[in-house]
Symmetry: C2
């Protein structure tokens, strides 16, 4: 498939940007620097930096100011995975077929590597201030990214999710909050930051923010659906884990038919907000209709 | 003592600034917002924001641009305490006579409250970009603060300290790195950020950075000395804990006489870098000669 070749090309491009910003593994802090890089280099789709860069391009952005932000959002995503995997949280030993950070480096170093990576994300994004010290969009983009990553964004979603665990059924309202914040907030951060840095107007920004919200929710409903309808072979991880863990999902609460209908509706609405024949539209379309 | 009244007045001023930036305890994330505020409001000397504000004033700074940064550095300091106290780290149940964050809210929430607070520190400092969007000093101050808080600053020192534990004797070089980074880096951040925001020249900035390094090290040697020479009644916490924990300190490595001489030398050098009759000099003098 041609889109896959194109995706791979852009993923390689993003990994080159990331590598440029990764810290050198040297000095007395060598262990934590290794742990940070171990986690970042574990792979993944690089979805967030890709959405950021493609939104930036769609609005006509063409400078390297986007690069520190693209690296930063992947670092934020990665630190959240390191801390999610800790024994006191999800207690996961493997991720993407590799041992999790705390399994390799110990629990204390897992905590510190996550802290270091979150902090380093902001050190990295702040490089943009030295690139364009008098561009007020940089400060605006920074504030948007930081807010979406924090207690009113991703961390907030994580908190509500942790608190809801083992409580049996949760309200639809609460499920929406978890979906909107835990994963949705970084999708919004990616697309919103790209738009701000490219100089999008306020109306364009609000439109792309709404688009990101719809897309974020559609992706998560789609994940819930695949957990029920896919197979181990296709998905590359056990299916039915949500049912097994008695996890409240969009599918368990609304049924599979309504879930499919709602995901489709959200996706269509999001698509209508983006100009046709853009790579961003093609990318979102591909991600929505993936089988895993 | 008059200086104590003055200190108390400024501490109250800083707490008012902090409260202004603290998140409201409402919404679905209420628990983590409570945990964040519980930790921040546990008290303390507010040393770092105080040093930041006094350095800012000494260089003639007089706007409110310093306030979000002062709040941010206290949040960074506080998050580091929350994570330090976790079971996988120092496993402390009490701090300043109150239960530690994870003892009250659980371990998962302790991790998340620390993450949320670190992130919120940068959200808060970034408020300065909306206050003065075209002031390039804000970006410079931000970068300096973030670097000193991260893997090349405070977190890096924490990592070296954790790795050195239980290894018996460590090298003088390594002890210097721990002292310089673990506590020293945030003293540098405080004074350096204050200087940058007040528009200090490059030479003035380098001078104040050197001053902060000397002061940071002098304070820590002084702490080591007090742990040996003070009493439970004066210090308000058990003395001799370093010896009991077989912790390598400046005193255990160099002996008490050399430690006192070096601390005095560092302090005098630092004092000579600051104009006389400033409150900053008076403040540092008071902090150095405290008995606890």
């Amino acid at each position: 498939m041609e889109i896959q070749t194109e995706l791979e090309r852009r993923r390689t491009e993003i990994e080159a940007v990331l590598e440029q910003y990764l810290p050198k593994e040297e000095g007395y802090q060598k262990t934590v620097l290794e742990a940070m890089n171990y986690s970042i280099l574990a792979g993944g789709k690089r979805l967030r930096p890709m959405l950021m860069m493609e939104t930036y391009r769609m609005f006509g952005g063409s400078s390297r100011i986007i690069e520190p932000f693209a690296a930063a959002i992947e670092m934020i995503h990665t630190y959240s995975l390191i801390h999610d995997d800790l024994p006191a949280m999800d207690n996961d030993e493997y991720r993407r077929g590799r041992k999790t950070t705390h399994m390799v480096y110990g629990e204390a170093m897992g905590i510190l590597a996550g802290d270091a990576l979150l902090n380093y994300a902001y050190e990295t994004a702040a490089e943009a201030f030295s690139m364009e010290p008098e561009n007020p969009a940089v400060g605006r983009a920074f504030r948007f990214l930081a807010k979406k990553a924090g207690v009113y964004g991703m961390v907030g979603g994580q908190v509500v999710d942790v608190e809801s665990e083992g409580t049996g059924r949760i309200s639809r309202d609460k499920l929406n909050v978890i979906y909107r914040l835990k994963t949705g907030a970084l999708i919004e951060a990616a697309m919103g930051t790209g738009a701000i840095l490219a100089g999008a107007s306020e109306a364009e920004f609000l439109n792309i923010e709404a688009c990101a919200q719809e897309i974020g929710l559609a992706f998560q409903i789609q994940d819930d659906i695949l957990d029920v309808t896919s197979t181990l072979e296709v998905l590359g991880k056990p299916v039915g884990s949500d049912v097994k863990n008695q996890k409240a999902t969009y599918v368990s609460m609304e049924g599979i038919q309504k879930a499919e209908k709602d995901a489709g509706r959200l996706f269509c609405s999001a698509m209508a907000r983006i100009p046709e024949d853009t790579f961003l539209q093609e990318l979102l379309c591909y991600l929505m209709h993936r089988e895993k």
